[in-house]
């Protein structure tokens, strides 16, 4: 009970302070003869602006600084230059396997997931009966809490799990032992990909379906008039028209893949052989088991940020080649 009360007091106090700052910002601007409209607008965005400064801009700079220090919270940070980065790249045995796992996980689950989602969305965009019911159904896995999904799949992909039982005939044909997915370095990645596909393909389907529904019918009719078949319609109308939506899901997907966390916590992967997710390494160095290597963990955070930036810049650059924006002709 006390824990609730304490947070409620914090919450109300901060709310009052933010409200006061909004009012003061407005008044000060009016005194400075700023137009009322401008003064109101700037005052109203104060909650976000303050939040940006306190919870984004400052932490961004602070973590960059920490990444060059040795910092265990109890003693002040001590400058060590590039030592943290050097240790990640050359000493820590969990870095390269984990980088490989994280990147391979993104590189396989994203394209397969988008292809499946697009296929399914195209099926639903035809005049199928009960689109609403199918959509409700397919979206269901995305609603299930991520943690529940992971635990469910840990059970399904166990050595005696349902998937191995269902796939038993396949194993017999291939003359192989049923794999114990997550504990076998060769099967951990496919297992993680299967799990993530189940979790997200429904959400992406719904997003892509909305994009497909926006395609004007006359474009398809024009292709048909020119004698184009289903293939021509797909390449010349569907793909260009849905490419902005694909682009949006791809960008978000890249970021989400690099910062994958929960599967690595709930599934015990061996960080030095299979590798684990990079963010799990950040967490375990900074918070887990009495560790508080804040500087070392911050350095990995920055390495991940750079990876995300490089990948998104790459996606953005490539978008000129394949993303079609209406009203933009070059």
């Amino acid at each position: 009970m006390n824990a609730y009360l304490r947070t409620l007091i914090d919450f109300v106090a901060v709310a009052v302070v933010i409200a006061a700052i909004i009012v003061v910002t407005y008044r000060v601007q009016v005194l400075m003869r700023v137009k009322r409209e401008a003064a109101t607008g700037f005052a109203l965005i104060m909650p976000w602006l303050l939040g940006f400064l306190i919870w984004t801009a400052y932490p961004l700079l602070a973590s960059l600084y920490y990444s060059f220090t040795s910092y265990n919270v109890f003693q002040p940070p001590r400058w060590v230059g590039l030592a943290n980065y050097q240790r990640w790249f050359t000493v820590d045995p969990s870095f390269w396997p984990s980088l490989r796992l994280t990147l391979l996980y993104g590189a396989s689950s994203l394209p397969i997931g988008l292809a499946l989602s697009l296929g399914l969305a195209m099926l639903l965009a035809r005049n199928v009966r009960g689109v609403g019911i199918w959509r409700t159904l397919y979206y269901l896995p995305a609603i299930i809490p991520g943690v529940a999904t992971i635990l469910l799949w840990r059970w399904l992909l166990g050595t005696n799990g349902l998937l191995n039982t269902l796939a038993a005939p396949v194993y017999t044909v291939l003359k192989m032992q049923p794999p114990s997915w997550f504990t076998d370095p060769r099967f951990a990645l496919p297992g993680l990909v299967i799990m993530s596909l189940w979790g997200v393909f429904g959400a992406n389907t719904v997003i892509l379906l909305a994009g497909l529904k926006n395609i004007p019918q006359h474009l398809y009719e024009a292709v048909a008039l020119d004698g184009g078949g289903a293939w021509a319609k797909f390449w010349n109308v569907t793909i260009p028209m849905v490419s902005p939506t694909l682009f949006y899901t791809l960008v978000l997907g890249v970021i989400a893949a690099v910062k994958t966390f929960e599967p690595g916590i709930f599934i015990h992967l061996t960080s030095t052989t299979t590798g684990t997710f990079l963010q799990v390494l950040v967490w375990s160095n900074a918070f887990a088991g009495g560790n508080s290597r804040m500087g070392y963990a911050s350095a990995l955070g920055w390495i991940m940020l750079v990876i995300i930036l490089v990948l998104t810049v790459f996606v953005f650059r490539s978008s000129a080649l394949w993303v079609y924006y209406e009203g933009e002709r070059t």
């Binding site: 109203l44 399914l120 997003i207």
Partner: protein
């Protein structure tokens, strides 16, 4: 039934084959859709079925599809193993408080960005959109250190108070899109009636963007309900755990020899059920929140 008489130029069989082809594609479409539905439903069925099995049935080969006798007592046992009543109260407290903070602050900020011209507005909005791409790992450690400095570790404040600073640039973006579709005449009329900005915002604008508010309400509810990393880092005392940390604690205690997957699955059902119910009640808003960013943006 009279068959239409085919004109001489186009012989009747051509019509027939086109028709057949259509039926065929329809059949294939439905087969694929049903297959997709099975992929979704079989794991969920297995979750429910496992949660009702007795410990002896867990590792039978082949596993029985359904328990011989559904063991509802699993759900009671689970409640004894982990004090879920307390965990639920904690989760509800965190979720509702963070949700309230998020909705109110995001609505105010979105209104400011949507309706008023001021210097630097577009640049600031660009910064806001850019923060959407920033992974939270990078801010995690300094944020933790701020809360630690304030003596707020092992309290709910880090999980809720930050929401007042318009957490969630996506929500601001979504609400701004809605505010921008409202004709200016409505506000101008309210000004003529002598209403001031807070009055216009609360009495005129908010009711008009109700669908968007509900959309971010369901998104925010699920987001906070399912938040794992936050509680994992900030909450240490078991009595203060939200449901999700109860699941984590139990999953870590699963023994290698005889893991109690029936209990584990019962817990995942308990954790998921409120969200699934919300989804079926407010489905429209889930879909709205999900699709608006991609299509309108």
């Amino acid at each position: 039934m009279r068959q239409p008489v085919a004109p001489a130029a186009q012989p009747a069989p051509a019509y027939g084959s086109v028709h057949e082809e259509q039926i065929l594609t329809q059949i294939v479409t439905y087969i694929l859709l049903v297959f997709g539905a099975l992929v979704v439903l079989v794991p969920l069925f297995w979750m429910l079925s496992t949660s009702l099995k007795s410990a002896d049935e867990l590792f039978l080969v082949p596993p029985p599809l359904l328990p011989a006798i559904p063991r509802w007592a699993n759900y009671i046992d689970v409640w004894v193993i982990q004090p879920f009543t307390g965990y639920f109260l904690n989760t509800i407290f965190i979720t509702l408080l963070a949700m309230a903070g998020e909705i109110i602050s995001c609505a105010i900020v979105a209104y400011g960005f949507a309706r008023f011209r001021f210097r630097g507005r577009d640049a600031l909005f660009g910064v806001l959109l850019a923060t959407m791409m920033l992974p939270n790992i990078i801010t995690l450690i300094p944020t933790f250190l701020i809360w630690r400095g304030l003596g707020r570790i092992d309290t709910y404040s880090p999980l809720t108070v930050g929401a007042l600073f318009a957490w969630g640039p996506a929500y601001i973006f979504l609400l701004r899109q809605f505010f921008m579709t409202i004709p200016r005449e409505i506000e101008e009329a309210a000004v003529m009636d002598g209403a001031n900005t807070p009055q216009i915002f609360v009495r005129v604008m908010l009711p008009l963007v109700k669908p968007a508010i509900l959309a971010i309400a369901v998104l925010s509810f699920t987001g906070n309900w399912n938040n794992f990393q936050g509680p994992l880092i900030y909450i240490n005392t078991p009595a203060k755990y939200p449901v999700i940390l109860g699941l984590y604690a139990f999953s870590e205690s699963l023994s290698k020899e005889a893991p109690k997957w029936n209990y584990m699955m019962a817990m995942t059902v308990i954790m998921s059920l409120p969200i699934v119910i919300l989804y079926f009640l407010a489905q429209r808003y889930f879909i709205e929140g999900l699709t608006v960013g991609s299509v309108k943006g």
